[in-house]
């Protein structure tokens, strides 16, 4: 699904953030990446979404070398992000926020509105919350909308950068459970950057990013 081959990256060409990272992620699996602050976790996610390009090495998603693709095209058709601070349009309703992402990824999809509503309901956003502007929603509710927005696109890869960082423990747990459950259900590849032990124990694989190198440390797969 995603093949990262010997990727190195530095922002200023002086201090390298990633050094020869090689790793594969496969469909239908969940991964967590952890590591000290500033180790380059967010940077790695940015590389996979075509936001920045590696200095050397290659990233392949579904047999496409993403170096040959426009970054926006990658995010439109392959990779969706979930953020710690949700990054929703605050003045749009929950439904509209999800709709916009769907419209961007699949502009000609029929019955999209129905799909959006179903997905949001699955995530626990009920009919009355659907029509509220997201600025009036709680953090947990906003992140559910964020997850729905990532799932609705049909992109095979979900990249979540500390998705529960702003939520209290109980809510974080709820949201995480939902994310992992739906990832499986929709057969996506989900990569979660996190500091939380609890999340690490719930993902299939757990990887440590340290000193610019990525190592697999745990497998929770039976």
């Amino acid at each position: 699904m995603i093949d990262i081959k010997n990727v190195s990256f530095s922002y200023d060409r002086k201090r390298s953030i990633l050094q020869g990272v090689s790793v594969s992620f496969s469909q239908g699996k969940t991964y967590s990446i952890f590591g000290p602050s500033g180790s380059g976790k967010s940077t790695l996610l940015a590389l996979m979404g075509g936001i920045i390009t590696p200095d050397s090495g290659e990233i392949w998603i579904n047999d496409h070398n993403i170096a040959n693709l426009d970054g926006r095209l990658i995010r439109r058709t392959m990779v969706s992000y979930i953020f710690q601070d949700y990054l929703l349009f605050p003045f749009l309703t929950a439904q509209e926020n999800v709709e916009i992402a769907r419209e961007i990824s699949n502009p000609h999809e029929n019955n999209g509105g129905e799909k959006t509503r179903k997905l949001l309901n699955e995530l626990g956003i009920n009919e009355s919350l659907l029509r509220k502007q997201v600025r009036y929603l709680s953090g947990g509710e906003q992140q559910r909308v964020g997850i729905a927005r990532a799932l609705v696109t049909g992109n095979p890869v979900l990249l979540a950068d500390e998705p529960t960082g702003n939520l209290d423990k109980a809510t974080a747990n709820d949201v995480m459970q939902l994310l992992i459950k739906l990832t499986k259900e929709y057969n996506k590849c989900c990569i979660i950057v996190t500091h939380s032990e609890m999340i690490r124990s719930q993902t299939d694989y757990s990887l440590l990013l340290d000193n610019g190198c990525l190592k697999q440390v745990e497998t929770n797969l039976k």
Binding site: G49, R75, R76, T77, I104
Partner: protein, 435 residues
Amino acid sequence: MKQISERIRIVFPRATKHLLRNVLTTMLGLSLMFLLISSYAIFLYHKNVSQTYRELIESRYPAEVLFCRTKEEETTTSLSDVFVSDVLKVPHIQANNRTSAFNAQLIATGHDGIWYEDINDQIPIVVQTDIYTSLNSYFMSGQLELVSGQFPDDKNGGMLVDADYFGLTLDSRNNVCIRMKVLSEEGSYFIERPVVGTYKTIYPIEHMINDVPVKQNVVFMNETDIINISDQLVKQDNMKFYLDSHYALDETMLYLNSLKYDHENYSFFPSLSHDVSTLLNSIRIGESSQKMIMVIYWIISTGIVVVYLANDYLKYRNCMRIYSLLGEKTGNVVCEYFFRILAIFGVACVPSVILAASSQPVISDNLLSNITQPLTEGSFRTTFEVQRNILQHSVAFNVSWMVILEAVGYVLIVIVAFLLIVGIISNKTEYWKNK
């Protein structure tokens, strides 16, 4: 084409939602732009009124220097060509116009009009009267009869002279009615009037001035100007030199005074009255302070709009970042932004245009007395009142639509310039780390 309609279909609802859901920002933008457009329009209105008024005064009272032969001279020679070319070399003097004219002076005003006599005591009395009243009644009652030429009217702006008195001279030159002129004087200011016809007296009209019966030497004209005619002056050679600028008159007079020219028997004087030149000066000072205010205004207003636009843009950048992360095409994002800004601008234009369209093209008394200060008193006042109508009409055209177009264009230019700069800057923006 299809692409454009597709883009509009996508962008329109997004931009509309953005505007409607952020009501306060939208209202702020609307009112800022409306204020900007309308205050700029009001400013331009005042500027145009003042400018039109100045142009009107300048064309009505051209800056000239008049050279007149003194009366005692019995010579019939004209001003020499050498002299003319000498004067033409004086700075600011542009062209000359040789005319024959009478000199006249106000002696009395009566019910029928205004009476004049010439400076040399020859007493060819002139009556100036309103064509629609006295003139008509004299001719209708058969007291007077038109001999040649035509009646004075608004178009020819001319006057009639007594055929008996001037008859010989006039008959001896065919077409003299068109070529002869009467110079009227008020203070040091002169106006030329063409003679458009002659009349003769069937029954004498009796006029009394200071208990002295006055001969029937009557000139009719249809404007309230001040005339005095001397028959000898038919031969008089007057020359008028035009100046390129009203403001150079004093300077030119000084210069001429310092010249030693051959023809000592000519005197010269400025044709612009003190009142007119004071008026023009005050208008000019007003205009230059307007220019300064304009620059300050331009800076402040542009600043306000740019601050608003910049604040709006910074907020919208967050949206652009989301769009970028969702993979939305740059074209759609830029289009939505443009659409939003132009929609605010467009909606702000509507009340401005309605305001302009519904405003009466009338100059307020306040405005008039402002631009004519300090000349609302004194001899200029009459002329000023007469011109008020003309001024109203000439200014009306310039105001409202032209002004609103200019104001709208100005704001549009500010917006477009801002968008261009933003476009250049945001090309280098990184969406990832920026909040």
